[in-house]
């Protein structure tokens, strides 16, 4: 049997595996995304922008609105995974930066939210807010913003 034919089932298996994992990732209801108010003109957030925002260095959106960060507990595994994937930082590093800033009297730390539902409510009612919401939690008043690496 030709080598190409021998490998065909293996290739098919790999293709299906990739499709399956891709679909799973794309539709994983717990996967976290950046979310802002639907009225916010921001269409994407770059990696360096996201790091600057989470490091409390970038304070304003391009439309001049102040950025209000809403974060779940840093021990939240989905949030942790998102932060590591999209910033290369570990969530506890961010927590220490926020603590240093607060204890020096030099800035407002992100607002902690206890649940995605609370984050959604605050996102809708707070101008300039940025939250980290799972895919399943969508609302017409908010939109997901892709994080570009």
């Amino acid at each position: 049997m030709p080598i190409g034919q021998q490998q065909a089932p293996f290739r098919l298996f790999c293709l299906l595996l990739c499709l399956w994992t891709g679909l799973t990732r794309a539709t994983d209801p717990q996967k976290v995304h950046i979310a802002v108010a639907a009225s916010n003109p921001q269409s994407s957030v770059s990696r360096s922008e996201l790091i600057a925002i989470l490091s409390l260095q970038k304070r304003y959106w391009d439309n001049g609105e102040r950025i209000v960060i809403l974060v779940p507990p840093i021990t939240n595994p989905d949030f942790s995974q998102f932060v590591i994937e999209h910033t290369g930082l570990y969530p506890y590093q961010l927590q220490r930066r926020w603590d240093r800033s607060r204890f020096a009297g030099r800035g407002r730390a992100p607002i902690k939210v206890s649940s995605p539902e609370e984050a959604l409510q605050l996102l809708k009612s707070t101008p300039g807010a940025l939250a980290f919401l799972p895919s399943l939690l969508m609302d017409t008043e908010v939109k997901h913003v892709p994080s570009l690496n």
Binding site: R47, S48, I51, A52, S55, Q57, K58, R59, Y60, W61, D62, N63, G64, R66, P73, I74, T75, I84, G88, L89, Y90, Y92, Q93, R96, D99, R100, S101, R102, F103, A104, G105, R106, R108
Partner: protein, 420 residues
């Protein structure tokens, strides 16, 4: 750190605001922590009587209160109880209490001012130097962030102007601070003339601090320049000498760099400084005999020579290399050196001229440690540190004239922190 009367007043203001009518309109945010340390030094003393097998002297607790009024005005205050620092006259202190007014805000830059007891910027971590659980290492390095001068370099009663500008990849943050601080008597004793001058607490007449930070968040780089200048006066009243007030000017420049690459982070900091004693205004009689040599002669010579010139420049550096694990473990190695005189780094000339050991004029340290979050509100940190030289030690804990200091000594430190 500051007189209890001022602390009490500031505390009353803080608590009064917390319990006042404003609180009903918009809640305050409170955070706090408590740290208990367990320390041992093989010979000398550090954090109190740490040469007594195991010492529990290190204890620190803090309460932070914050409040916003709209988007432009906010208040932040921190009350602390700090046990291990013999240099502080009072255990209780208000580390900072400031009103922050954001005066100008644009899309890519903003500027404002802070009034009250504002923090001084020093290096990468100086502004939260007084909060042990935010230290980057289990033991703070003594090279850049000297424990001996903690109250002096921590905060000042005055004004802090700040501005930040974002560029496409970089951002620049500038701070200028000016004010008046209290210089604890033990710091005077430690830094200048040891036990020959009477115990005294004095004030800085002029204090200016500037800090420029350039950062590139995308690449994980930070570069910080800090400059500090302060003027103060001491009452030099030697026995048998003319009592007089002598001005002293202190300058300090530091350069710090931090770079993170994947799980690695390196922090490099260097400092250079000088103390100028205006001897011509002292007009003291010359001292002679062994007593002259029983003190810091390099500085006393400045007085006796009746010339206005700076003492030898002091300097130092610290380097720490961190490996960060996803679970929160921060493992690090650190090395640092500090010397009181650039021209006499190991104190050889000092030893030859005074008969005192040269190792009291420099410090070198090599540490290995970790910080680990045990749970969401609990941190544990530990460090094993080998030291050579004793210039970083506090004089109040280790009086040179009454206690022999060991040149080589080890420290073991364990710190458990609860924070919320």
């Amino acid at each position: 750190m500051f007189p209890v009367s001022i602390n009490s007043l500031l505390l009353c203001v803080l608590m009064g605001l917390a319990g006042g009518g404003w609180a009903a309109e918009q809640p305050w945010r409170f955070s706090g922590f408590a740290s208990q340390g367990l320390s041992n030094t093989s010979d000398n003393r550090y954090f109190g009587k740490s040469d007594d097998r195991l010492s529990f002297d290190f204890f620190e607790a803090g309460l932070l209160a914050e409040r916003d009024w709209g988007e432009h005005l906010s208040l932040s205050g921190k009350l602390a109880y700090r046990a291990p620092y013999a240099i502080q006259a009072e255990h209780l202190s208000v580390d900072h209490l400031l009103l922050d007014y954001l005066a100008v805000e644009r899309t890519h830059w903003y500027a404002g001012l802070r009034l009250g007891r504002v923090k001084l910027g020093e290096g990468l971590y100086g502004s939260s130097r007084d909060t042990s659980y935010t230290w980057p290492t289990a033991l703070m390095n003594d090279i850049i962030y000297s424990n001996k001068l903690l109250p002096l370099y921590l905060a000042t009663d005055g004004i802090n102007l700040y501005a930040q500008r974002d560029f496409s990849r970089w951002s620049a943050a500038l701070e200028l601070t000016s004010g008046r601080s209290q210089v604890p008597g033990s710091a005077v004793e430690d830094q200048l003339f040891y036990s020959l001058i009477p115990a005294q607490t004095t004030h800085t007449d002029k204090l200016i601090n500037s800090r420029l930070e350039l950062s590139n968040p995308g690449s994980g780089s930070r570069l910080v320049f800090t400059w500090l200048y302060l003027e103060t006066e001491f009452d030099i009243s030697f026995e048998g000498l003319v009592r007089t007030i002598t001005p002293v000017h202190i300058r300090q420049l530091s350069l710090s760099f931090s770079q993170q690459w994947r799980s690695w982070r390196i922090d490099v900091e260097a400092v250079q400084g000088s103390n100028t004693v205006f001897a011509s205004q002292a007009r003291v009689e010359p001292l002679s005999g062994p007593r002259v040599c029983a003190i810091d002669c390099s500085q006393l010579t400045e007085i006796l020579s009746a010339e206005d010139r700076p003492s030898g420049k002091r300097g130092g550096y610290n380097l720490s290399l961190h490996y960060l694990y996803p679970g929160g473990l921060d493992l690090y190695l650190s090395v640092g050196e500090h010397w009181d005189n650039n021209q006499d780094k190991h104190g050889d000339a000092f030893e030859a001229g005074t008969g005192l050991p040269g190792h009291i004029k420099y410090s070198a340290s090599y540490g290995l440690g970790f910080i680990y979050p045990l749970a969401s509100h609990w941190d544990i940190a530990a460090e094993l540190r080998y030291n050579e030289g004793t210039s970083a030690l506090m004089f109040v804990d280790n009086p040179v004239l009454s206690e022999h200091l060991s040149k080589h000594w080890m420290q073991t430190f364990l710190r458990l922190t609860y924070h919320f």
